[in-house]
Amino acid sequence: MKAVVTNKLTKKFGDFVATNEITFDVAQGEIFGFLGANGAGKTTAMRMLCGLLKPTSGEATVAGFDVYKQSEQIKQVIGYMSQKFSLYDDLTVRENIRFYGGIYGLNRTNLKAKSDAIIQQLGLGSVADKLTVSLPLGWKQRLAFSVALIHDPKVVFLDEPTGGVDPITRRQFWDMIYEAAHRGTTIFVTTHYMDEAEYCNRVSIMVDGRIKALDTPGALKQQFGTDSMDGVFQILARGTSTK
């Protein structure tokens, strides 16, 4: 079963078409990169898949559930991490983990096991009972990602998860993404960092609400005759701006 399937998914805000008949699918366990300039419609598309927005027309399923009728079931099986993270600064590391575990309905024993595992895995033992506000940005991002995975979701949506950190920290973050994908979690990630696009299994590039290109990074580079994803992106983005 495909993790995400969309067919001519469209969202209009008044006269403005934010996403225009986008069609794609994402396989289970795939790392799917969703690229586009600001305002290209990637956040709108992601919000429709997460059940935060009702589509205007078209079809979409997430983990086999219909976005129109089964948004409650979808919420149970997806994880979400926004660019602003999802952690509460005035809660401790452990309390943040337990809170998210709690609202996803984990029982007490499971919750305890999960929090211990996450704290150990991220090496946060010494700060587990410190307020989250004191953590460095990179740590917060990795904690937010672990928290987004606390209920073992089938698909996890990451909306520009690595904003504002250096490439090394980004690389560490991507190691976690690979690990999660390896365990079978589907990763749906938006980004503007082109080095991150290279890490994805497949990449789609949105321009003005439409998907202009969708393939593996290697195939895209070949198709556009350039040696970097940045080159591909420049060609697509400039292509529309001169038209």
Binding site: K75, K84, F99
Partner: protein, 369 residues
């Protein structure tokens, strides 16, 4: 249900870890009750008076003594002629002039009907009204002593009816219900709208919306801690009023607490409504201040009597919830009346709360999406 409790627990962490929140929650009611109860009281002590006694009779002297021994008035001058009155007022120290006409004692003793004139400096309107009321009251007390039988009182002096329940016009009696409604409104409406706006600002609201928590669970999770804290606050204010400021609690405590809960529920609905309009904490604060707190302070009858407002503002004041709550609290605590006399304001509050809650729930869906 466990999900809901996880959420409520988190809310309590937010509240208990934020010193400013705690200070507003528990410091403010205390400060306001003390400030309004003791410092800003509109009770008047030792107001300067002048007496113009044309009578020089037994009753005019006794009445003057009685006025001066009440503690409210302090004699500055004895006037001898009418023309002195205006000059005295112009100097600005004297707030009240009592004039006994010629033949006062005679008229009173023989005709059973005498007149005394009270002139007040109306440039300070509230003081003037208060002083007139004080003096009138004392004169009536004198008259009652003079007429031990049930005979009809004979002096012609107008009496303000609202003084029946608060003969000394104690400031605290008027202020405490006002402070109570203000604090409850502040805690319930302001804090709730700010805490929801904060989640929107930090982006955590989005994450909550993606989680399996329903919108209602999120809302009630936000509201429940403040409902509890507001109620505790209400109890603290009532206790301070009764034990510290000596306000009577003549009516039913149970009814008072139920009405308090009703008003808290109304304030929380207002807070939710504000939060549907505000996406940042700052906006939430401004809306709460401008639309909720200022009208409550100025138009609820808390600081300025509704009866002396211009007609237009009187009409506006009918939509201020605190106005009804203040009436209810005064009714229960001071007059000791029950629901039979208070069903009207109670019904108004109930309807307001229902409409506001429905409006905020309706408004909330598209805004959060």
């Amino acid at each position: 249900m466990n999900r809901f409790f996880a959420f409520v627990k988190k809310e309590f962490f937010h509240i208990l870890r934020d010193r400013r929140t705690l200070l507003i929650l528990f410091g403010m009611p205390l400060a306001m009750v003390l400030l309004f109860g003791f410092a800003l009281t509109n009770e008047i002590k030792n107001a300067k008076v002048a007496v113009l006694d044309f009578d020089h009779g037994q009753h005019s002297r006794q009445l003057t003594d009685r006025l001066l021994s009440s503690g409210y008035f302090q004699l500055t001058r004895n006037l001898t002629a009418y023309r002195d009155v205006e000059a005295t007022f112009r100097q600005g120290h004297v707030k009240l002039v009592v004039i006994f006409p010629v033949g006062f004692t005679h008229d009173y003793a023989h005709g059973g009907k005498a007149q005394v004139q009270l002139l007040t400096d109306a440039s300070e309107q509230n003081t003037a009204i208060t002083l007139t009321n004080y003096a009138t009251n004392i004169i009536q007390g004198y008259q009652a002593d003079q007429n031990p039988s049930d005979a009809r009182p004979s002096m012609q002096i107008e009496v303000q009816s609202q003084m029946v329940f608060n003969p000394e016009l104690k400031g605290a009696f008027v202020f405490v219900p006002g402070v109570m409604s203000l604090v409850l409104l502040l805690v319930s409406a302001l804090m709730t709208s700010i805490t929801i706006a904060r989640e929107k600002e930090t982006g955590t609201m989005e994450v909550l919306m993606v989680s399996p928590l329903s919108q209602l669970q999120i809302l009630f999770g936000k509201v429940l801690p403040y409902l509890l804290l507001s109620f505790i606050n209400g109890c603290i204010i009532i206790a301070l009023g009764v034990f510290l400021l000596g306000i009577p609690l003549n009516g039913s405590l149970l009814l008072l607490l139920s009405e308090t809960l009703l008003f808290i529920f109304l304030s929380l609905s207002l807070g939710l409504l504000v939060s549907t309009l505000a996406d940042t904490q700052l906006v939430a604060m401004f809306i709460s201040m401008l639309v909720l707190l200022l009208p409550t302070i100025f138009l609820s009858g808390f600081l300025f009597p509704i009866d002396s407002m211009p007609r237009f503002l009187q009409i506006v004041s009918t939509i201020i919830p605190a106005r009804y709550f203040i009436d209810i609290v005064k009714g229960i605590m001071i007059k000791g009346v029950g629901l039979a006399d208070l069903w009207r304001p109670t019904l108004v509050l109930f309807l307001m709360a229902t409409v506001l809650m429905a409006a905020s729930l309706k408004n909330l869906k598209p805004r959060l999406n």
